[in-house]
């Protein structure tokens, strides 16, 4: 390269992820105006892409797959349940917009972005939007979803997973891979309220299918710190008679 850019040496650090956040932003801004650096990045990218392949192979644990897929299935159910609703968006008055936004309004908004940017574990907001733009209306349906992964005692349920799905404030507990409750017993959900010394009983009693899965609707979880599950005698108990083996911190 005859005209070497003064930032040329930053290209490698950029591709290796060795820039601080501020340095990276600065370099990205520079790249937008420097064809040399863009070419450089393109030509060295194959090395950065190859580096992850050189590490020793380590198999991921099966529990990781179970936990991840439990959350994914729960969210997929919510997405598919939201389908018909998303097809019938409510009409809302079109907000006042600046002209430059109006210019792009001919293009339908991609549903892509509607899956939303979510943060792991807590406070997930899943926006499912069916958005259309025309000159008169902008319509949108949003479902607020939060999923919380529960801890499952591996001694009680080695392959067990549990997720709380909060859809528009309504909570459901979904479990997979649990053993059936011992004979004469049933699983009972408890709510530990903020500031309370002991968990309160609920009428959410459940068993599991032969494959170990089940789901149960929960009462309001407003002001609840944790959702617990124990095995209790049939009909449920007023105070836990065994240690909780599922614990979801909300």
């Amino acid at each position: 390269m005859s005209e070497r850019c003064q930032h040329a040496d930053t290209v490698a650090a950029f591709l290796l992820g060795a820039l601080s956040d501020a340095e990276r932003r600065e370099f990205q801004a520079h790249m937008a105006t420097c064809a040399h650096c863009r070419e450089d990045v393109a030509s060295l990218r194959l090395v950065a892409d190859a580096l992850p392949l050189a590490v020793p192979p380590v198999a991921p644990p099966a529990q990781l797959r179970d936990r991840l897929m439990e959350t994914v299935r729960a969210e997929a159910d919510v997405l598919s349940a939201a389908g018909p609703a998303a097809d019938k968006p409510q009409r809302q008055p079109r907000p006042q917009r600046r002209r430059r936004f109006a210019l792009s309004s001919g293009r339908p908004l991609a549903l892509a972005g509607a899956l939303g940017a979510l943060v792991l574990g807590v406070a997930l907001g899943l926006g499912i939007g069916a958005a259309t733009n025309d000159d008169q209306t902008k319509t949108q349906t949003v479902v607020q979803v939060r999923t919380v992964q529960a801890r499952v005692d591996t001694a009680a349920a080695p392959r067990g997973t549990a997720v709380i799905v909060l859809r528009n404030g309504v909570a459901t507990l979904r479990v997979r891979g649990l053993p059936a409750p011992p004979p004469g017993k049933v699983y009972e959900v408890w709510l530990l309220r903020r500031g309370a010394a002991a968990p309160s009983p609920t009428d959410a009693l459940f068993s599991v299918s032969t494959r170990g899965s089940g789901r149960v609707a929960l009462p309001s979880v407003q002001g609840v710190e944790a959702v617990l599950v124990t095995a209790e005698p049939d009909g449920g108990s007023q105070a836990p008679t065994s240690q909780p083996f599922i614990n979801a911190a909300l």
């Binding site: 060795a18 194959l46 990781l64 797959r65 598919s80 892509a112």
Partner: protein, 178 residues
Amino acid sequence: MQLVQRAEASAFEVVYDRHSGAAFSLAYRMCGARQLAEEVVQEAFLSIWRSGARYDRHRGSVRTWILGITHHRAIDALRRGVVQDRHRASDEGIEERFEASDRTDVEVARREEALEVRGALDVLPDEQRRAIELAYYGGFTQSEIAEMLGVPIGTVKGRMRLGMEKMRDRLEPAEVLP
């Protein structure tokens, strides 16, 4: 990835099964601890599930895309200071190794590919290889590397660049001469 874009859990499962091994291996190499590696991979795949539509096939393979996300997540985790042990990148012998047992054709091809990349790294002069490893696998910034090695930052940049150029020349498919 089309199916993932339509939010189908079973399609996502296939993607996970195909690429989680490479992602976990990378995360484990970078974090040096199983639990943190699990968190990194879980975060990476959940972000993929939730934003599958952002995959752009013109910008590389699905595997490259997934490993790129995993790398970013691991760097974030390392820089958040989750790992106290800051010599993570230099541990040549990781005590725990969980070799994938199935030796399918794909697995064999992957191993050959790994050997090729490893070979391209190993023939670099030590100082170049070390700068690249500390940056890519260690998640250290160029300033941290300069401080660790006791050399000016410009030297670190130069070593990374020279090393990457040499690796590119080895890894790039040979051009057909006219």
